[in-house]
Symmetry: C2
Subunit: 561 residues, 2 copies
């Protein structure tokens, strides 16, 4: 494009977008819908725009059979449908903010040109975290960010060159890859520095995922960072060495230790950055330069719950931000309301989902210390209809007014549905009392007359109303009397040391066996019968607390330790 | 129970509950959780309490194998767990409000006793509608309200005595029974007076259900009321005769024409009734007598959207109302917020769900005439992941402020999830702009970066912002220019008579073919490409309207006619 062509009239604004995957593509398309006159150009370093990056693990796993299925849009489609120029294999080298131009390199020809802008949008995305450990640059250490990455791994699997893969990192991509590799007959080791996988969850909620990984043959190594890699340039990587000195032989390493905002361009141009390493933008997605916007993985954004800056590299928010940047460039009053971090991840038979703040974030934030949490384990649909599977639900809420702060759910079916509903509730500032009264679809294949969402609201509301004082397993002390109100056959299959068993139906006639000078802590399988017992005992003048989530939650926590 | 036993102190209140299925059982259990002292007695005419009435069709269909699975709770469980006396096979004959006593007949012994109350709760439920037509009392005309009803039908099927069943009524029970009977090899005819099944939906949204019934061999006869039945006391019913004179031979008739509140007791006691034939209660579930409460199918309640009185015989609201009545009896400040009518019904491969007001209700109500609706047909998850099924969504919203008034969805997967989210949104007074910004769980098996809920919000918000002026198929006139922006191969497979085909990618270069003196009405397959075309044309000065839902909605409507 010559400098003559790039000259603009006031009629014909020139919008340049750096990066064409999620936020960039949605920004471009939206901008065109608001103006037929603007000149809109996307520069994308890679060979594809708008591809389904969330589908890459499933393409590796051959669930998605063909590369073309991953191409949500092509440069041709953008040209035909939106009159948008897409320049793939074009790398933006630098921004001259004063002159409002960028330098662009055509990676095919090597030619560098200058492009002027009226508005510039940085959708530069993120880069995989690459730890500075010995052997990190060995052949066979890959990440999964592009279609090319996944084609490489597919080829290695199909050629029989790779039998053992070590996955460094237990986040969503690592987990989804573990499943897909196992399903292709690969032996998988997962090495994770933290004590849990999927850090969007609190540790006890990740346990069912960990159990499932192990049950499906994944060699799961938690609490163990990567210290280095063995191998040579000839052999490629041959083993992962952990910080505790363990050695896991492998033919390929997948780096899945998370991502970092790709801010090279922004930094070099002197745009303001945040403390977390992302580009600083306002709620209109504008950077510290009024003519430059930034969206997607590259930016820091506000946590909707805590108000803190956060990095949330998810496609949904990126796409929303892209639209908002386009709106603002075109003079509209759009604002980004922040992110709740609503997410879902399925691994083998287990689905985990979350929205809002988790306990780790609330503790770290420090602002919102007055929260409480409840655990419950309702069936995903009516128990009388065959096939009901339990969902482990954790609801976190404000002790002052019952406002919902976050929720996490793990189970086999209907997990993300409940989190979606609670996500909507959080968006509208709902309380646990609102969940009690929510009207959910009920037919026996789908739910119960009291949906798990209602149940979560009721359990939490009972806590706030003082009807169900609770305690958590981690807070038990020796000074309390522990009462197990399950049936004897359940008690005999496993119970807390020192717990006394009085089944709920016998409780009223055996009140004399319960001390009045100590706090009574009750539990049952999941917390419902013990709630009934709490009511009986507190109405009879005992000091009682229900252990939230009961024996099921205990076992989740115990396995973790 | 003698009159001596029924004498009460101020400490020991006596709460009598008439009816022990959904609302009655939940009221009793809740009351006990709030008081250990109260005497609580449930009188239930039938042999069971708290059974899974929503499971009955699936018990007939042998999906639920054993009767005992339907018994959510038993009198023994109520006694042991809640210290609640349950008197099954006890019919309450009358209420003496002045003396605060009821007359109760033990249906086993025939003995009638008097029981005094401090608080009386009527959870008398509903009765099937039984039209006064010739032959209505013939043997073999049954309804499905109790476990006994379903055992009878099971037995007749298993004995081979029933090969052909006529279902009178196309509501949820009729539909679920049609599926279950077909799966047991029964030949099914469904006769429905209205032009559609499942009247919770607007007619065009019911079409996929009707297609599915027909595809699975159900002989569906719409727009045709039941005029009478043929048969004799010896042979039993042998045929249904419709108002149009059609005759459908059958061995059994299932009456599924809806239910009416069972208000015999309340009416005889002079309690205030509503115009719809239900017991009148306030938002604390109190009747016109301050010592009598009523809950469940028997009462009229407020529609959350329209504010009108309504009858909503669903288990979820009944259970909530039972809790609220118990709270109020025990001196708490609970209030029932009204019903949204959130419901789901699955028939063969098709699930239909709805929440809030439908167009029929809005038109009938008259208050909320300033509404608009949009149709869309998004996939239930990402299109690039195999197995995505379309959901047909209809969103109804206020034209003045975008408040969501109702939603309906029909499809194969993920249908009720979207309605649950929108139900939560409606509960909190959300607008379509809130749906745009909703943060939903996204992984390719579950959703798209823009969930159908987001898409619905965006389409509606684009209408309200004036970016996407819409029109509906039923409002087309001859004076407009109809533009089909699909590809020629799609156009050639079927299009509106008189429509001109200019595919979206060619539109910008063929603007000269489009008249400027007339309104242009555009459509594509589902409304997305035509929205892009609307933007191009309106930014170029044309008068345009997008036909909401496109060709897919057209076909839904056409099949109906």
């Amino acid at each position: 494009m010559s400098s003559t062509e790039s000259q603009k009239s006031s009629e014909r604004r020139r919008i340049l977008i750096v990066g064409g995957v999620a936020g960039g593509a949605s920004c471009a398309a939206r901008a065109r819908r608001l103006s037929e006159d603007a000149e809109i150009i996307i520069f994308e370093k890679g060979p594809h725009i708008s591809f389904a990056s969330c589908g890459l693990p499933y393409y590796v796993g051959d669930v998605i059979k063909e590369e073309k299925n991953l191409l949500v849009a092509t440069p041709e489609l953008f040209r035909g449908r939106f009159n948008i120029t897409v320049k793939v294999r074009h790398e933006v080298l630098s921004i001259d903010r004063k002159r409002q131009v960028i330098m662009v390199k055509d990676l095919e020809s090597g030619r560098v040109t200058e492009e002027s802008y009226d508005a510039l949008v940085l959708a530069t995305g993120s880069k995989p975290v690459k730890p500075p450990v010995p052997g990190i640059d060995l052949p066979g250490i890959v990440s999964l960010r592009t279609i090319e990455d996944s084609n490489l791994i597919r080829r290695l699997i199909e050629n029989g060159k790779v039998k053992r893969v070590a996955i460094a990192g237990g986040g969503a991509i690592g987990l989804e890859m573990a499943e897909n590799l196992v399903k292709r007959g690969i032996s998988v080791t997962m090495v994770e520095m933290l004590s849990q996988v999927l850090s969007a969850l609190d540790p006890e909620m990740a346990v069912p995922l960990q159990k499932s990984l192990i049950a499906h043959g994944v060699n799961l190594c938690l609490n163990n960072g990567v210290a280095g890699f063995e191998g040579s340039d000839d052999t490629g990587v041959q083993a992962v060495i952990t910080k505790s000195g363990k050695k896991f032989p492998c033919d390929l390493v997948l780096l899945a230790m998370g991502v970092r905002p790709d801010i090279g361009l922004a930094k070099a141009a002197g745009l303001e950055l945040g403390k977390l390493g992302g580009i600083r933008v306002d709620d209109r997605m504008r950077t510290s330069d009024v003519r430059i916007w930034a969206v997607g993985d590259a930016v820091e954004t506000r946590d909707f719950i805590t108000g803190e800056w956060t990095l949330v590299p998810l496609a949904g928010p990126a796409s929303r931000q892209g639209r908002i940047a386009a709106d603002v460039i075109m003079g509209r009053e759009s604002r980004f309301r922040g992110v709740q971090g609503t997410m879902v991840c399925k691994v083998f038979d287990i689905t985990a989902a979350a929205t809002g703040a988790n306990e780790k974030a609330l503790r770290a934030g420090g602002k919102l210390t007055r929260y409480e949490k409840v655990y419950l384990h309702p069936g995903h649909h009516a128990g009388y209809y065959p096939g009901a599977k339990p969902i482990s639900l954790k609801l976190i809420f404000s002790l002052s007014d019952g406002q919902i702060l976050g929720a996490q759910a793990v189970g086999q079916e209907g997990v993300e549905k409940r989190i979606d509903v609670i996500s909507m509730a959080i968006q509208k500032g709902s309380t646990v009392f609102d969940l009690e009264e929510a009207e959910m679809c009920y037919a026996p294949q789908f739910s119960s007359a009291k949906d798990p969402v209602n149940m979560a609201g009721m359990v939490a509301a009972n806590v706030l109303r003082g009807d169900n004082p609770i305690k958590h397993w981690e807070d038990l002390t020796d000074s309390t009397f522990i009462l197990d109100v399950r049936e004897p056959f359940e008690f005999n299959q496993g119970h807390l040391d020192g717990a006394v068993n009085i089944p709920l139906p016998a409780l009223r006639s055996r009140l004399g066996e319960i001390p009045r000078d100590r706090e009574i802590n009750l539990y049952c399988a999941a917390g419902q019968r013990s709630y009934y017992a709490v009511r009986i005992l507190s109405l009879n003048g005992f000091k009682v607390k229900n252990i939230s989530g009961g024996w099921l939650t205990y076992n989740q926590q115990k396995v973790r330790e």
